[in-house]
């Protein structure tokens, strides 16, 4: 294998169409006769449906049909969980459309099919819905009372408790010389994609075939669910991945609309398109992150961590969605982050509430747990009079301790270990890059009306979820090669990086790789998709395997053609040659194809350090970033350009979560943040001065590329680091942020509390 393209900052192939406005997203498809679906959503958080009267809506010219649960014989199908599909979760899974109760504002009640989306929306106003209000469960505290139940048969609003265990935490705490207990919480965020979701379904009645466009992330898995729900063999359904306007964990999971739209298309035997609007998106797409921790840390007097113990509560929203348990599991499984914690006893309680259900969002559970551990560490350092950086140096898992086992989690029997790396090295590099030794002398200082604050935090990022990924290579008519991937594109640039990997593996120039097709169910026999920072590790390794098989197939074909041994065949850029100067053009093998796969049950853990220098205006509660540095080691860099994009892009999402983003409800479960003037995303003006340094000093031992996932590290430590930087800046006020986001109001309140305390 050559190393010509891997590691080089190759400009992306997909840019050529995106920059010209020639991307093709699902809303850009407009087949003849298409009907537009518009979804009536519950405005009631918790209630029992009495009636849905669609008569007036059906009279509106242009309205074709209105579908409700009554149109589904046998009742609406239930959406099964994709990850952690425990029997305990079954009672809490979501039906594709509400039929007896509504459990959150935004839950689908009816689907209008009309000749335009505008007419469909007109019809929504004409549908009369009668719902008997039930007591809304507006918070996890209300859920814990179990007075009003979301699911009466379950008998409880708690769907599960995860137990993360390592060592003997109770014994360790009993003998610990120092313990600190804290209550900390994180806001409710979501993986908002700039392209709202969309599904277009076309039913070919004659062939009994269903084509579903708008697939993303996990098309093969979603096809399995849909096939079962809609009663078709899997191979009668084609899931088409168009250009996808962002994923972040949230897009591409199986949502109610992923059944409703194909069902509608078959129901009316016409193409049906549904494009989510932004208001829907805010209340229909998976929420994430709203957790509260009541945890304690035990340490030796020298700062050596002994253990972590306590509970984390997650506000799950109304249903257990496909990957809804991942964050709640991760928050306890990864609470220790990159630090050596011999004793762990953490319980994660999953509370059902009348809010939009949760799912994964980039760095699920890790952003939250990093906030918790990093806040605790700075408090420990202060209590024990130890330098914050030294405290971290002392406790980082050393490279000699790798692979390092982390807490196991029940009842999923999750046992995992970090694979490799030198965490300390990343910390030191980060300190050097931000100029910690010199600049941090400013910490706590008031200069020109602003307090200077510094913080540093270390993280690990999980990647490479198994069990498998597939790749296929094929010879085109002109002798160029096309790569087919089971991996999905959500904006990461897979067409470019897989072409880089394939070109190096085939030892040919990149322009010999004509296309990289991905995501759709017609690319490979069995694909897995884009999640858990897995594309390069899993997909890239699958390309290497496919290359081997591809070369073998060419040798075999060449041997046959030239009448020689396969081992005598030499494969050139565009020719195949054998002994005695005989050769032929690779194009003659057009159509030859070979598939390969990478199977893996181990995870990679990239890692690194964030450091921030901020200033705070204590009167306004305003935070500005002076400098922010991320150092991340990813095992093997394939494309430094796209890698930097992943790190900075995820960092800004993390800063959004730390400073701005918060999905809010009132106590009655009414949604308060239904516009982009309410849910505040970072803009170009908010977070300048961000830098990242990516390294590949320590390849992963568990895949042939040596790569580790890299899409989430930027987000993980941002909350903890920003909160610690604010605490550091406002140390003269004794400010200790205990929640995210760090809004101006909250920071101002911390300052006020400090001033009151000083006055007393």
């Amino acid at each position: 294998m050559k190393n010509t393209f891997i590691g080089a900052p190759i400009e992306r192939r997909e840019d050529l169409r995106f920059l010209r406005g020639r991307g093709e997203y699902v809303d850009d498809l407009a087949p003849n006769g298409v009907l537009y679906a518009v979804i009536l959503r519950s405005s009631v958080a918790h209630g029992r449906i009495k009636s849905i009267d669609t008569a007036a809506a059906l009279k509106i010219p242009g309205v074709h049909t209105v579908i409700t649960a009554k149109d589904m014989p046998g009742g609406p199908p239930i959406i099964p969980m994709r990850l952690q599909p425990l029997p305990e979760f079954k009672p809490f899974e979501q039906p594709v459309i509400a039929h007896d109760k509504v459990r959150y504002v935004g839950e689908p009640l009816a689907v209008v099919l009309a000749t335009s989306a505008a007419i469909g929306e007109d019809a929504l106003e004409a549908i009369a819905v009668e719902i008997d209000d039930l007591d809304p469960v507006g918070s996890r505290e209300a859920a814990a009372k179990n007075k009003s139940l979301l699911f009466e048969p379950a008998g409880s609003n708690r769907s599960l408790v995860f137990h993360a265990r390592k060592g003997d935490a109770d014994a360790a705490f009993a003998n610990a010389p120092y313990v600190r207990r804290e209550r900390l919480k994180t806001g409710r965020h979501y993986g908002l994609t700039m392209e709202p979701r969309g599904v277009m379904a076309e039913w070919d009645a004659a062939k009994g075939r269903l084509t579903v466009s708008g697939a993303a992330k996990v098309p093969f898995f979603n096809r399995r669910i849909l096939a079962k729900q809609i009663g078709l063999p899997e191979d009668s359904i084609e899931m088409i991945e168009n250009d996808v306007g962002g994923g972040y964990g949230a897009r591409g999971e199986f949502y109610p609309e992923d059944f409703l739209i194909p069902f509608a298309a078959r129901h009316v035997n016409r193409p049906v398109k549904w494009i989510e609007d932004r208001r829907e998106n805010l209340m229909a797409m998976n929420h994430a992150r709203e957790t509260e921790a009541d945890i304690e840390i035990a340490c030796e007097r020298d700062g050596t961590i002994i253990g972590l113990r306590g509970e984390v509560h997650t506000d799950m929203g109304a249903y257990m969605r496909t990957n809804g348990a991942v964050g709640a599991r991760n928050v306890v499984q990864f609470m220790a982050g990159p630090y050596r914690v011999p004793h762990v006893k953490l319980d994660s309680l999953l509370w059902m509430t009348n809010k939009t259900p949760v799912g994964t969002y980039r760095g699920p559970g890790r952003f939250e747990s990093s906030f918790y551990i990093e806040r605790l560490l700075d408090m420990v350092a202060e209590d024990l009079g130890i330098d914050r950086v030294d405290l971290r140096r002392r406790n980082l898992v050393a490279s000699a301790e790798q692979p390092y086992p982390i807490a196991s989690v029940q009842p999923t029997n999750a046992n995992d270990q970090y694979d490799s790396g030198d965490y300390r090295e990343a910390l030191e590099r980060c300190l050097t890059e931000i100029g910690w030794a010199e600049k941090s002398k400013l910490q706590g200082k008031l200069i020109d009306g602003r307090y200077h604050g510094f913080a540093v935090g270390c993280f690990v990022e999980g990647g490479a979820a198994g069990p498998k990924e597939s790749a296929r290579l094929a010879v085109n008519d002109d002798g160029t090669i096309t790569v087919f991937m089971g991996s999905s594109a959500v904006g990461q640039g897979v067409e470019t990086v897989f072409a880089q990997i394939a070109a190096d593996a085939l030892e040919i120039p990149m322009d010999r790789i004509r296309h990289v097709y991905h995501g759709s169910t017609n690319t490979v026999s069995d694909g897995y998709g884009a999640y858990h920072s897995r594309s390069i590790v899993m997909g890239g390794s699958a390309v290497l395997d496919a290359t081997k098989n591809f070369h073998a197939a060419i040798r075999e074909a060449g041997a046959k053609k030239l009448g020689c041994d396969a081992s005598d065949i030499k494969i050139g850029e565009d020719r195949v040659s054998g002994p005695g100067g005989k050769s032929f053009a690779l194009a003659e093998l057009a159509g030859l194809t070979a598939e390969g796969a990478f199977l893996n049950h181990k995870h990679t853990y990239s890692y690194g350090t964030h450091a921030a220098h901020i200033t705070v205006d204590a009167q306004l509660g305003e935070v500005r970033i002076v400098d922010y540095v991320v150092v991340q080691d990813v095992g093997r860099i394939v494309n430094p350009l796209t890698l930097r994009g992943q790190v900075i892009g995820s960092l800004v999402q993390g800063l959004g979560g730390a400073m701005l983003e918060h999905l809010q409800y009132d106590d009655h479960g009414q949604f308060l943040t239904g516009t982009l003037a309410d849910y505040l995303l970072p803009t170009a003006g908010d977070f300048p001065n961000l830098r990242c340094f990516v390294t590949d000093n320590h390849p992963s031992p568990i895949n042939p590329l040596g790569a580790k996932g890299a899409g989430e590290g930027g987000i993980v430590a941002a909350g903890g680091v920003m909160a610690n930087a604010v605490a550091n800046a406002l140390q003269s006020f004794g400010a200790q942020p205990r929640q995210l986001p760090l809004t101006p109001t909250y920071i101002w309140e911390l300052v006020q509390a400090g001033q009151r305390q000083a006055a007393e």
Binding site: S116, A117, A118, E121, D122, E125, D277, R278, R279, Q619, L620, G621, E622, L660, H662, Q664, L672, T673, T675, A677, D678, L680, P682, T683, G685, D686, T743, P744, T745, W748, E749, Q752
Partner: protein, 285 residues
Amino acid sequence: MKLPPFEYACPATLSEAVALLASHDGDAKAIAGGQSLMPMLAFRVASPSLLVDLRKLPGLNKIAIDSDGVKLGAMVRWRDIEDDERLKTAHPLLKAAIAHVAHYQIRNRGTVGGSIAHADPAAEMPGIAMTCDAGIAVTGKSGSRVIKAADFFLGALTTALEPDEIITEIRLPAWPQSRRFGFQEFARRRGDFAMAGVALYYDPDPSGKASNAHVGVIGVGDRPQRLTAVEAAINGNTIDEATIARAAAAASAAVEPQQDIHASAAYRRALTGTLVERALKIAAA
């Protein structure tokens, strides 16, 4: 989020426009730049039966400056104010405030008349109109009149404008060259509606003491307001640290801010004081 159905008219004269507005039983709405109205239509919180587009009405896009002051035609865009060099001296407070309005693309279409008619409690232009005792010239089927800003803003998104009336001009009284001023606002992000904002000015008398103080606030309450208690704390005084502190305290005491998802009431109250303090410091500098 498609707009509800409505009829559309684009009249060429003011009288025609007024007649159209009057013809729909109060259910017609004028559209200028549409930068506030269009989102309301998209969320279907407004669904007029007729939209009357003002873009062809002659003469409404002029900025006139004379000894009486500044006259902003209702269709003057934020962009036009930004680009008009004369306003640097003719009305520097207006210029300073408008620099905070929304974003680049919005500023290319949003108009002063539209903003005044929309009457968002946190919007800069209504705040400047209040602070500066602007006259709002309107024309309706019963003729033309000038409404004082103090009488114009009745509550959040509520004004004294009759359904058939169209704003034609905002009249800002003349700006003496010796006048001192400051504008401060604080929003969650650049271009957002402010959690609170303060516009103020005063005229120094020959001894250097402040007179004729005007202090207006936005974002704290259901409409832009003048803070007379703060003005009283400023008038007759040298703008020194003691005066500034008194004015800031008076401002915090004077407002009755609301709580919402972006800020608490207590925070807004304190913020108002802080912004008065900072605006006064800038004015006195």
